[in-house]
Amino acid sequence: MVSIEVQNASVDFPIFDAKTRSLKKAVLGKVGGKIGTEARVPIIEALHDITLSLKEGDRVALVGHNGAGKSTLLRLLSGIYEPTRGITEISGKIAPVFDLAVGMDPEISGLENIMIRGLFLGMSRKEMEARVEDISQFTELGDYLHLPLRTYSTGMRVRLALGVVTSIDPEILLLDEGIGAVDAAFMAKARDRLVDLVRRSGMLVFASHSDDLLFELCNTAIWMDEGRVKMHGSLREVLTAYKGRDPFEHMSPETLERLGETL
C-alpha cells in the first residue's frame, strides 16, 4: 500500500553564515518562513507542525505563494529532509523531479544522465538499459540524447527528467514547478502518462503556480502558507479559497467532464 504519513513534522533550517545581529530584527512580511530569533544560530522555520496523510490514488496539488514551504514540503515527502521534530513515514518507491538544473551533469550526454538518474532512483544498470529505448521515444529527443546536456533547452531537460521518472514505474511522484517549460503537445502526452501511472498504483504531489497544469494533473490540493497547511481539500475548494474565485466557473461542460470535475 502506497502511503505517506506525516505527524506533527517541523523543518527548521539553521543559517550558519548569517550574522545573528542583523537577522534578529528581521521580520519578513508575506514572503518566506518565520525566522526564529531565540537560538544562537538563526533558524528559518520552513515547515511548522505539518500533519498529513496521503494514500494511493491521490493526486495532490501544492499551492501557496513563494516561500510558503511548497518545495520544502516536497523534500520532506521525498525523504531528503528528515523532520527536525515529528515523524514522517513513506511507503513506496519515490521519484522526485525538482530543480532541473541540479542533479544533472551538463557536461555528459543525455543518455548518461538518464543512466545516473535511474541508478539514483534505485534501478540497476541493466534495467535502465532496457528502458532507454522507451525514454528516447517518449521524450522525442532522438539523436540529441548523445549530445552533452548543456546543449539542451529547458524544455528538453524537462522532457528528459519526466521521461526517466515515468519510465521506472514509481509509486510516489513528486514534481516541483518548472516542468511547465514544455510545449502543449508534449504536456498532453506527459499528462496521459502521469495520470496513467497514478491510476495504476501511485500518488502524485505537484507544486505549481500554473492552474492549467494543476487542473490537468490533480484532484485534491494543499494550500501552504507560512510553512503550515492552511487548507487541505478538493482541488476546486482549495483553489477557490486560495484565488478568491472559482477557477472552474467559466469552463465548458466538456472540459469539466474531461477533468473529472462535476458541477
Binding site: E89, S91, V102, G103, E107, R117
Partner: protein, 296 residues
C-alpha cells in the same frame, strides 16, 4: 516495498544507511568513473595524465633526493615512487573526503539516497586514480627489479639497514590496500560530516597535510635518520615518526611492494585506527546523518 520512517537517531538507521550505500554499487561505481572521465574529457590521452604526472613527479623527486641524501637510486626511486602513490591516495581520502558532501550538495538536496553513496563515490574515484598510478609502479619495478630482489639491499648507503628484498610477501599489498581503503571510507564519512557543518575544517586539513607530508617518511628513508640520530640519543626522533599514524598506513602497503622490512606493529596500529575510526564515524552518522541535507 521500501518504507522510510523518519524518527529518532539510532545506530540501526546509521548502519542501514551504510548497508544501502554499499548496495548501490552500480551507482557509486558509475559516479566515480564519471568523475575521472569528466576531469580528462576532451584531452587527448585522458586519464593517462594521472599516470604521467605521477611518473614525472616520481622521476624528478627520485633523482633529486637520491642526490641530496646520497642514496642508491636503484632502490631509493622505487621507495619514493610507492610512498608517493600511497600518500596521494591517503591525501585524497583526507582532503577530497572532507569535501565529499559539500561537493555533492546538488545531488543531496534533490535526490534521496544514502549518504554512504557519496563517501564511496569519493573513495572509488581515488581507488581508480591509485590504479592508474600503479602503472608507474609497474614500470619502476620492471626497471629496478634487480636491485629490489636482492637480499640485503640498502635504501641509504650510509648507516642504512639491510632490507630483505622482494619475495612472496608482495601479496600482502592486497589486504593492505583493502584496509587503507576501508579507512578512507570512514575518513570520508567522518571528515565529510564535520566539514559540512564547520567549513573551516577543509582548510585546516589542507594546511596540516602539507606539514604531514614532510613529517612522514616518503621522500626520506627512516633508517637514514634514526640510525644517525640515535648515536647521540635521538630516540625522540624515532618516537616522533612512530606517533605519526600515516607512517604506519604507508608502511603496510609500501613494505611488501618494494620488499623492505615488514613489521606486524604497523598492521596493529592500522587495525586499531580502523576500529576507532569506524566507531567515531558510526556515532557521527547516527547523530548527524539526517542533518547533512540541512547543512549543505
Amino acid at each position: 516495498m521500501p518504507v522510510v520512517a523518519h524518527a529518532g537517531r539510532t545506530f540501526k538507521r546509521a548502519i542501514d544507511d551504510l548497508r544501502r550505500g554499499f548496495h548501490h554499487r552500480e551507482l557509486w561505481g558509475h559516479l566515480g568513473w564519471q568523475d575521472i572521465k569528466q576531469r580528462y574529457r576532451r584531452s587527448v590521452i585522458g586519464p593517462l595524465w594521472i599516470t604521467l604526472s605521477m611518473a614525472v613527479t616520481a622521476a624528478g623527486l627520485g633523482l633529486l633526493y637520491s642526490q641530496l641524501f646520497a642514496t642508491p637510486i636503484g632502490t631509493f626511486l622505487p621507495y619514493l615512487t610507492v610512498g608517493f602513490i600511497v600518500w596521494n591516495f591517503m591525501l585524497g581520502c583526507m582532503t577530497e573526503g572532507a569535501e565529499t558532501f559539500i561537493a555533492n550538495e546538488g545531488l543531496i538536496k534533490h535526490l534521496p539516497a544514502p549518504l554512504t553513496v557519496y563517501a564511496l563515490r569519493t573513495v572509488w574515484r581515488l581507488t581508480l586514480m591509485f590504479a592508474h598510478n600503479l602503472l608507474v609502479y609497474a614500470v619502476v619495478l620492471a626497471i629496478f627489479f634487480q636491485d629490489l630482489a636482492k637480499d640485503g639491499y640498502l635504501l641509504s648507503t650510509t648507516n642504512g639497514l639491510p632490507q630483505p628484498g622482494l619475495d612472496w610477501t608482495i601479496v600482502l599489498a592486497i589486504p593492505a590496500f583493502a584496509l587503507i581503503a576501508l579507512n578512507g571510507t570512514w575518513v570520508a564519512l567522518l571528515f565529510g560530516i564535520i566539514s559540512t557543518r564547520y567549513r573551516d575544517i577543509p582548510q585546516v586539513i589542507s594546511a596540516l597535510t602539507q606539514l604531514l607530508f614532510f613529517m612522514t617518511p616518503i621522500v626520506w628513508p627512516v633508517d637514514a635518520l634514526t640510525k644517525r640520530l640515535s648515536q647521540d640519543g635521538g630516540d625522540w626522533v624515532k618516537l616522533l615518526i612512530e606517533l605519526n599514524p600515516l607512517y604506519h598506513f604507508i608502511e603496510i602497503l609500501r613494505a611488501p611492494l618494494i620488499g623492505s622490512t615488514q613489521s606486524w606493529h604497523h598492521w596493529a596500529v592500522v587495525g586499531g585506527f580502523t576500529i576507532i575510526g569506524w566507531a567515531l564515524a558510526l556515532v557521527a552518522m547516527r547523530n548527524y546523518r539526517s542533518r547533512i541535507s540541512y547543512w549543505v
